[in-house]
Structure formats: structure tokens, C-alpha cells
Amino acid sequence: MPNLDASFSALADPTRRTILARLALGEATVRELAEPFEMTQPAISQHLKVLEKAGLILRRVDGTRRPRRLAKEGIEAMDQWLATLRKALEKNYNRLDEVLAAMEPEKGRKTR
């Protein structure tokens, strides 16, 4: 089970979000991932390490290359949590609509 705290704090950084967006298009090497940034490869590797620890990306061994890809399980766990949160909030307000309707039975008569 991926750690949600680590996943969300990994997302707090714009460089890491851009890396994830790139990986959403498919597997990429560290060099490819470093390309759009004015950053050294070691700096990018540091970000990759955070994403890996958070369970959001995986590393494959291919000779001397270590291409990275998205970790489906980690991303889905986060997605599910957010959907639950959002649904709970929406449900609250739908319930509030009903509470308000019951509070103002005279509504509609007030139109001028």
C-alpha cells in the first residue's frame, strides 16, 4: 500500500509534477527527463528518488540505462483518495441544499 502522505508531499514541487506529466506520456531516461529543465542530471535524480520513495514511479534496468515509468498503483491510490474527498464535499453541499429548503418553506412567496 503506497504511503499517501509521501505521495502528496512529493507532488508539492513543480519540477516533480512536470516529471510526472512527462512520464504520463511513457517511459523516459534520466537524460530525457532532465532535458526541459535548466538542471543537472544529479539534481533531477534527486527528484526521481523522492518520486520513487513516494511510490509514484518505478525504475527498470536496461543495460546501463535506468528508464523510469509511472507506478500505476501509487497514482491510483492517490486518485481514489481525492475522488473520495471531493465526493464527500459535494455530498455535504447537496445535503445542505435540503437543509436550506426545509428552513425556508416560505421561499417563492417572496418574489417581487
Binding site: 505521495s7 508539492a12 455530498k91 453541499y93 445542505l96 436550506l100 428552513m103 425556508e104 417572496k110 418574489t111
Partner: protein, 154 residues
């Protein structure tokens, strides 16, 4: 049906807006009177709020306790900072899971909007890390979908 809009602002803020078909007075009361709050601030189906304390005055305490009736539960504590009936509430709150989360500073406005009310809730978290813990890309995509729907309606 009115659509909730959730979005971010800067590094530390979250904005939620929602329209209601009731007066600002009614929406304000539904946020500050315990017997009304207990009817809607419940989250997922099956959860209830057996304890609801809303001492609606500056410095007054807030305490919400939720349970799923199967032994799971958590609570929120907070304090009111400013109240302007029936237009504005400023409070701080934190969740206990059971360790307290960083303080969430919340300003809620209730503005007349035609025959109803436009509610705008502006949350301020201590830093971008904390906010990221409440939000992420998935939610932002959901937001875009909401805006798209809104544009179609307008």
C-alpha cells in the same frame, strides 16, 4: 443543479465556491447552528456527527466529532476569529487523525446572488506541502471539467 467549484490560488490557498437557493442568513445559520450543521456536514454515506460544538463568537470553540458507527471516527477542533452575521466567518481548524494536522485558516463569505447565495470559502494552509496533502493533479483535472461544464451552462 449548482456545481461546487474547487480551485487553488498561489502556493497556500484553496478556494471552494458553491451557490445555494436560500438567503445568506439561512446559509450562514446552517454553518453556525449545531442542530443544522449536524444535518449536512457529514462526509461519506453512513457517517454521523454525534458531537457538534459551535460557540459562534470571536475566540469561541469549534468541535466536530464524526463516527461511522462501526468504531471508526475522527474529530476536528478549531476557534472562531471573526463573525459578521450573515456575511462572513473566519475560523481556524485542524483535524485529529489522531495527531493534529497543521492549522487550516478558513474565511467563508456569503454574498447575495440573485434570490440565492454565493458561498466562497478561502482556505489558507501553512505551506505548499500541506496544501499538496489536500490536493493533487487529479483534483485539478476535476476542476477543469467543472469549469468546462459551467461555461456550457453560461
Amino acid at each position: 443543479m449548482s456545481k461546487m467549484i474547487l480551485t487553488t490560488e498561489g502556493d497556500k490557498h484553496i478556494l471552494v465556491t458553491r451557490r445555494f437557493a436560500a438567503s445568506p442568513e439561512a446559509v450562514y445559520r446552517a454553518h453556525t447552528e449545531p442542530q443544522l450543521v449536524q444535518k449536512w456536514l457529514l462526509g461519506p454515506e453512513g457517517w454521523t456527527m454525534p458531537v457538534c460544538v459551535t460557540d459562534a463568537q470571536p475566540g469561541g470553540k469549534i468541535r466536530y466529532e464524526w463516527t461511522d458507527g462501526k468504531g471508526r471516527g475522527f474529530h476536528v477542533t478549531g476557534e472562531y476569529l471573526e463573525l459578521e452575521p450573515y456575511s462572513r466567518i473566519v475560523h481556524v481548524e485542524r483535524m485529529h487523525l489522531p495527531d493534529p494536522t497543521p492549522d487550516n485558516h478558513v474565511e467563508t463569505r456569503f454574498d447575495p446572488d440573485g434570490t440565492g447565495t454565493l458561498m466562497t470559502m478561502r482556505m489558507t494552509l501553512p505551506d505548499s506541502q500541506t496544501r499538496a496533502a489536500m490536493l493533487a493533479t487529479g483534483m485539478e483535472h476535476g476542476m477543469e471539467a467543472s469549469y468546462a461544464r459551467l461555461e456550457k451552462i453560461i
